[in-house]
Symmetry: C2
Subunit: 168 residues, 2 copies
């Protein structure tokens, strides 16, 4: 029997950080417990924004007690300036998991698309549509929250595959 698994997916950004908690239960049924986006005003000092990302995610982890955090593995960015900002936001998100003592699982954009849409070169729009189809009406229109749910789903699907290969 498959045990109940609860995972937080995060899509970090210095202006919008998406998050979503999904749980897989009996019969592989997956449900969304919460999803949303932390919006960070560009007028706020950057350090304040980092603090907000960290504190909000810590609050959610404390409340829902997921067994791990799934996050996109970023290897490249448009330019060094964007990469620096993204890196700091990602660092704040990772630290919320680290300080709460839950493991971090990283997946490449290709793995996420493959796991959700079944096709590694799927568009952002296709991923969003698939997330809505898979998770139903709980999914917000916001692409950040939907991206966070996608990486969480990717983790659950990868776990499922790992368990299947163990049975064999």
């Amino acid at each position: 029997m498959m045990e109940r698994k609860r995972i937080i997916g995060v899509d970090p950004g210095s202006l919008h950080t998406g998050y979503g908690i999904v749980e897989s239960g009996k019969g592989g049924l997956i449900r969304v417990l919460i999803s949303g986006t932390i919006h960070l005003s560009p007028r706020k000092p950057f350090t304040e924004r980092l603090g907000l990302i960290f504190r909000e995610l810590v609050k959610i982890i404390k409340e829902f007690r997921p067994c791990g955090m799934a996050i996109e593995d970023v290897f490249c960015a448009a330019n060094p300036k964007t990469a620096l900002k993204l890196g700091q936001a990602r660092g704040a998100a990772l630290l919320s998991a680290i300080t709460e003592g839950i493991p971090v699982y990283e997946y490449s954009p290709l793995e996420i698309k493959q796991a959700v849409v079944g096709y590694g070169r799927a568009s952002k729009n296709q991923v969003h549509r698939m997330i809505t189809t898979l998770l139903g009406s709980h999914v917000p229109g916001d692409s950040h929250a939907s991206d966070a749910l996608a990486v969480a789903l990717c983790h659950l699907n990868s776990e499922k595959l790992r368990n299947l290969s163990k049975v064999r």
Copy 2:
């Protein structure tokens, strides 16, 4: 009379994070309370390294209770990949200040060199030599710790100038 000021300077990096605490006392006398480098093995998972940077800096801030953190303001990096890594390490360092409730002061490389050497285009070696001259034998050979002390000194010098202009 100038009040006693204690500041932590940090030079973040995903493999070496330098830190140093300086204190300015009576007559503008500046002394180093502690300085060092957190060395992070590239064989350790990246998230573990971020956790180490955060925890070590939190420990030092709790022990020495500086009134602020001074850190170099980074606008550019060699390439997006390096920038992402540096960004995450910088995010971990900033969060140690944010969670401990001390303000962060950012200075450009030009401001740091100007404040320490009196010349914005000084070489890394010149900065290191000047730090040794200004702070004496407490300064380690390590360039990361010395860079951390340089930004802390830059903050103290800028504060001094601000105070002087207030008196005028």
